[in-house]
Amino acid sequence: MVTGYDHIAFLIGVVFFLYRLKDIVQYVSLFTLGHSITLLGGVLGGIHANPYAIDAIIGLSVVYKAFDNMDGFRRFFGFEPNTKLAVLIFGLFHGFGLATKLQELTLSKDGLITNIISFNVGVEIGQVLALSAILIVLSIWRTQSGFLRQAFATNTALMTVGFILVGYQAAGYFVASHAS
């Protein structure tokens, strides 16, 4: 998933009900911290996670966040998982996904760490740009009277995307293991 729309879907879910820039920076930083750790560790340690499994978990993270945004955890289980912890943990998985993808490219040993960091910075810039666009749209949307009603529908759509990602990767896993 070179385009990284799964990451963006997750981040949309994360920032959906965040209003203050301070909170947004906090959550996005936690996510970045998580995926930087596993990206560096994964490439340097040569860890090859199954890309389908990782991408399926990333799909699940989208489902989780959409369900959380619907207030599903409090309604059904009487508690809300610590969102900051969840964002960090899913950040770690997203990093593994990136590490696996990066290792599919041919990497020279020269300046490997510099390359990984550059790659990471590039991913970050891309995410910040996409998030900025999303935030502008969200900010305008929030001033509309129908926002809260539409928000529920939007999170349902987001959850659908998450489920599709899970199914897509699960199917990919079976196709790949049958082929080999």
Binding site: F17, M70, D71, R74, F76, M159, V161, F163, I164, A171
Partner: protein, 212 residues
């Protein structure tokens, strides 16, 4: 926090959340089987992929590896440096040299910059040697460039290929530092125009052959 109040205010009912989750799952399954699987993997259980021409997408990506060799089979210009054309044919030479203990001898070939030579020499015992060259235009009389040097244990054979880094004379100096006589047999083939042997004060011109 104001936003939390707003959030709780609209907090949907259990029923609404369950319904939304069910709808999301159902829609995801439908999209997965009608569009994603046919397009990505060519799996088309409901034949919707064929109807929407989505299976063509997966076929297109499957066909790519087949198309690749056709592209590769087209003649492509070789990268520079793979070969170097020469105006004249190459020459061959073979020399038998005898070195008594303490003796030294040198064989040098005159080559243009970039010209190639392959060589092989074998000796009956270890000899110290230096593979080196002297450009025609050198900054001072004693100037030379060393390519390979073994003045320690020495060797009894060496094979290789060589590209002259400068226009000038290129070759070997052998020295027998042992206590027994050593015979060296050298054969070369390459784009050189003359060869010289240095054993005493004056160099001897060697006769080089055209290849048979």
């Amino acid at each position: 926090m104001l936003e939390q109040k707003e959030y709780q205010y609209i907090s949907p009912s259990k029923k609404a959340i369950a319904k939304a989750t069910g709808v999301a799952l159902l829609v995801a399954i439908v999209i997965l089987f009608t569009a994603v699987l046919p397009a990505e993997y060519g799996i088309d259980p409901l034949k919707t992929g064929a109807a929407l021409h989505l299976t063509d997408l997966s076929k297109a990506s499957e066909k790519k590896p087949e198309a690749a060799p056709v592209v590769a089979a087209r003649p492509v210009p070789a990268p520079a440096g793979i070969y170097t054309a020469q105006p004249k044919g190459y020459k061959v030479d073979s020399e038998d040299l005898t070195l008594f203990p303490g003796d030294g001898v040198e064989i040098k070939y005159h080559m243009q910059k970039g010209a190639g030579m392959i060589y092989a020499w074998k000796a009956t015992g270890n000899v110290q040697y230096e593979f080196h060259g002297e450009p025609d235009k050198k900054p001072n009389k004693d100037y030379f460039e060393s390519y390979e040097l073994d003045n320690q244990a020495g060797k009894d054979r060496s094979y290789g290929s060589f590209i002259a880094p400068t226009t000038g004379i290129h070759g070997w100096f052998w020295e027998n530092k042992g206590k027994k006589q050593v015979d060296i047999h050298l054969t070369t083939a390459g784009f050189y125009d003359s060869a010289k042997m240095y054993a005493g004060d004056k160099p001897d011109e060697l006769e080089i052959q055209d290849p048979k």
